[in-house]
């Protein structure tokens, strides 16, 4: 037996940050020309000793990463107000901050409460106030939720900071066998938790629509099989064991069905599995390769990649009429589509001048825009608010994750200090 399973991870909830070296860090490579200046004052800690987590720093970093905000350097702040009466607007006008965010962190036993207020410095008035509570050991998540609220208030688009990422990393062992990790992390790469570690490849991670379960393909038995895993309990189940390919699982928007690729009846085709009865329905029937299914948000049609036209292109299958139509026409290679929640923007891998980029296609205008300037880009995954696209690429000969805004204006990288990182999957909104 050449294969060796190292660990299952049923103890999720008990695990904190496992491995500092595996954590993704963030380098902003391109921002907007005129980001909004906002001062995120360190939140006042109202418990004993020092605060366990700098929540304001989390908010600050989230807003900066969006590219739409330029948080003021703490060293430039002329005061550190935490309540309205301590605010001197001239201090903030002096450093040309357009908005001001202040807050307080209150410990409540195992829980923690963050209260915050957002002020418009020019108009000298409060524009938003709110509070977030949650487990004290998830203080960073509270920060992300505050950032979501501030982002939505100022841009009109819901934030997607309080979300999570799945990704696969491969670590080479010189002279030995590589190992693969399926990792769950916050949207900023912090708090990585290893869900699965295996000496055999792990592929195609994806989310259930409620964000409570994940699906993936693992070769741990020596052959590909689809697994689902509950994040809260760690319970894990192998749902396919067919001859040939078992791949590319994709949960339907209502969570009742899973689209997948099987080659048990010949060439790879798309199938649907009823998640209750586990009954299979065949969707495509073609001697070409049909693969990488993904659902339109209304659940009425699927996009998939097929080379039935000689070259890989994106097609749409309508589940009600049973008709298939081609979606992409620009370029000789378009694959691995993912659809934004608006059902209008589709991101995909697009080949241009021999290089693989991430492109976005507007289904209404049929306009295709190449978003990335890196090459060898793959596996795009779109944020639940449709603002950013996360993808895998190569940088300095390493597989890393990178992100780009859907207008191409903001770019950042999330390099890992160890191993090659691939196949990111951005979670849906969690617990909303």
């Amino acid at each position: 037996m050449k294969r060796l399973m190292l660990a299952l991870a049923p103890l999720l909830f008990a695990l904190a940050a496992l491995d500092v070296h595996a954590q993704l860090t963030i380098e902003i490579t391109q921002g907007r020309d005129n980001p909004t200046a906002i001062a995120v004052v360190p939140f006042a800690w109202q418990g004993q000793g020092t605060a366990p987590e700098d929540v304001a720093q989390v908010v600050d970093a989230d807003l900066a990463r969006s590219g739409q905000f330029a948080p003021v350097d703490r060293a430039d702040m002329l005061g550190r107000p935490s309540t309205q009466k301590d605010i001197f607007y001239r201090d903030w006008r002096a450093i040309q901050s357009e908005y001001l965010l202040i807050g307080r962190v209150l410990p409540q036993g195992e829980q923690m409460r963050v209260e915050y207020e957002l002020y418009d410095v020019t108009r000298q008035q409060q524009v938003h106030s709110g509070a977030e509570s949650g487990p004290a050991n998830e203080a960073r998540m509270l920060g992300h939720r505050v950032a979501d609220a501030v982002y939505e208030k100022l841009t009109g688009i819901p934030g997607a900071f309080a979300t999570r990422l799945l990704y696969v990393s491969a670590t080479r062992v010189p002279g030995g066998k590589d190992y693969f990790r399926l990792t769950l992390a916050d949207s900023d790469g912090a708090r990585p938790i290893v869900l699965l570690e295996s000496r055999e490849p792990v592929l195609a991670p994806g989310w259930s629509p409620d964000g409570k379960q994940v699906s993936y393909v693992s070769f741990e038995t020596g052959r590909p099989a689809i697994y689902i895993q509950n994040l809260a309990t760690g319970a894990r189940e192998q749902i396919t064991n067919f001859k040939g390919l078992n791949g590319a699982p994709a949960w339907s928007p209502d969570g009742n069905t899973m689209a997948m690729v099987l080659s048990k009846d010949g060439s790879p085709d798309i199938y649907l599995m009823n998640m209750t009865t586990r009954k299979l329905t065949r969707v495509t029937r073609h001697y070409a390769i049909d693969t990488e299914p993904t659902w339109m948000p209304d659940g009425r049609s699927l996009l998939f990649t097929s080379d039935r036209g000689g070259r890989p292109q994106i097609y749409r299958y309508d589940l009600r009429t049973g008709t298939t139509e081609r979606v992409t026409f620009e370029g000789g290679y378009n694959a691995r589509a993912r659809v934004a929640q608006d059902g209008r923007n589709v991101v995909m891998v697009h080949q241009k001048d021999g290089r693989f980029h991430i492109a976005i296609l507007d289904l209404v205008t049929s306009r295709l825009q190449v978003l990335t300037s890196t090459e060898l880009d793959e596996s795009p995954s779109i944020a639940p608010n449709g603002s950013m696209v996360l993808y895998a690429t190569k940088h300095a000969d390493r597989g890393i994750l990178a992100a780009v805004s859907v207008d191409g204006g903001v770019k950042f990288r999330l390099p890992s200090r160890e191993g090659d990182v691939r196949e990111p999957a951005w979670s849906p909104y969690m617990g909303r």
Binding site: R32, D33, N34, Q68, T155, A170, R172, D178, F180, P201, L203, A204, V217, P224, K243, G244, L245, N246, G247, A248, V261, S263, G266, S267, P268, Y287, A288, I289, T291, E292, T305, D307, R308, G309, G310, R311, P312, Q313, R326, F329, A335, R336, V349, Q351, F356, V364, T365, R367, V370, S373, L376, E378, S379, A392, T393, G408, G409, D420, R422, E423
Partner: protein, 300 residues
């Protein structure tokens, strides 16, 4: 390629079940030999475990060769046992037919799409012509129409570009030719070259008859070049608007400014421009008014 061939030498290689694996491995081999996105660092081939993680699985990512069965087809005859010669020949012919049908299928899809686009364009052109003809009766200058929601300068937009005048009289010597050649680059979709040509044009004929058009096209082009240059686009449209407020392209430029500001993330400025288009040109038959209304309704 070698790893893919190993699987093809079995006696049952022509049977359907084996075919799955053959295709898969051929696909993988194709990926390894060309630089598909998922391919590992070169040199890892010697280590069987080094190759595996880097190879992408066809179910999640496509091979770059995009004709996965092709290598299998060409290598199969050698592997076929002689007793099954005729079966093998049949199988190869079937494979070739499948490849051929796929290629033809792709052509049909693409031509159907071209037809659809041409139909839409000719309708657009007709509507535009009709609009300009009716405008001749009411006002001197007809509004230039930009294709609905489509930033890419297309042939449909092109028609009104040349005859537009600014009321500054005749073109300078050589100006028409210079403008025409810059404009042909737009038509040829050579956007980077077109940017350079229009800039050169403006250097030579800063006050020329076609200068406002050149500013307009530069604004459009900065949006479609890679990387997109929103700030330059904004400057071009702003310049057109401030220097030639009465130009027929003024409402279009204003609408475009609204879009550019939107792309830059300035929702408020964007809305101001779009509302200004509706307010100032609402009673003209400029297409920019409708586009602005649509954009406002859709995004605000």
């Amino acid at each position: 390629m070698a790893s893919g061939l190993v699987f093809m030498t079995g006696p049952l290689c022509f049977m359907a079940q084996a075919q799955d694996y053959v295709d898969v491995e051929a696909e993988r081999a194709g990926r390894t030999s060309s630089s598909a996105p998922a391919t590992a660092t070169p040199g890892a081939v010697a280590d069987p475990y080094g190759v595996r993680p880097a190879q992408s699985y066809p179910a999640t990512s496509y091979g770059v060769n995009s004709a996965p069965a092709a290598p299998a087809t060409t290598t199969r005859p050698a592997a076929s046992p002689s007793g099954n010669q005729s079966m093998g020949t049949l199988y190869i012919q079937l494979q070739q037919l499948q490849q051929e049908v796929m290629r033809l299928n792709g052509m049909v899809e693409e031509q159907a799409n071209e037809l659809r686009k041409l139909k839409a364009q000719s309708l657009e052109r007709y509507v535009d012509l009709d609009k300009r003809l009716s405008a001749v009766g009411t006002s001197a200058a007809a509004p230039a129409v930009s294709a609905g929601g489509n930033n890419r300068p297309s042939a449909a937009v092109a028609t009104p570009a040349l005859p537009l005048t600014t009321g500054q009289g005749a073109a300078l010597p050589g100006e028409s030719e210079a403008y025409r050649s810059a404009y042909s680059l737009v038509r040829g979709q050579q956007f980077d070259e077109a940017v350079a040509a229009f800039r050169e044009f403006l250097d030579s004929y800063p006050d020329g008859k076609f200068a406002p058009n050149a500013h307009y096209w530069l604004g459009e082009l900065y949006l479609v070049v890679d990387p997109q240059d929103l700030e330059s686009s904004r400057q071009s449209f702003s310049l057109l608007l401030s220097q030639y407020p009465d130009n027929a392209k003024a409402p279009d430029a204003m609408y475009k400014l609204g879009k550019v500001q939107y792309l830059k993330g300035n929702r408020e400025k964007s809305r101001q421009y779009l509302e200004r288009v509706v307010r100032e040109y609402g009673d003209t038959n400029s297409a920019a008014v409708k586009l602005s209304r649509d954009f406002l309704a859709e995004n605000f």
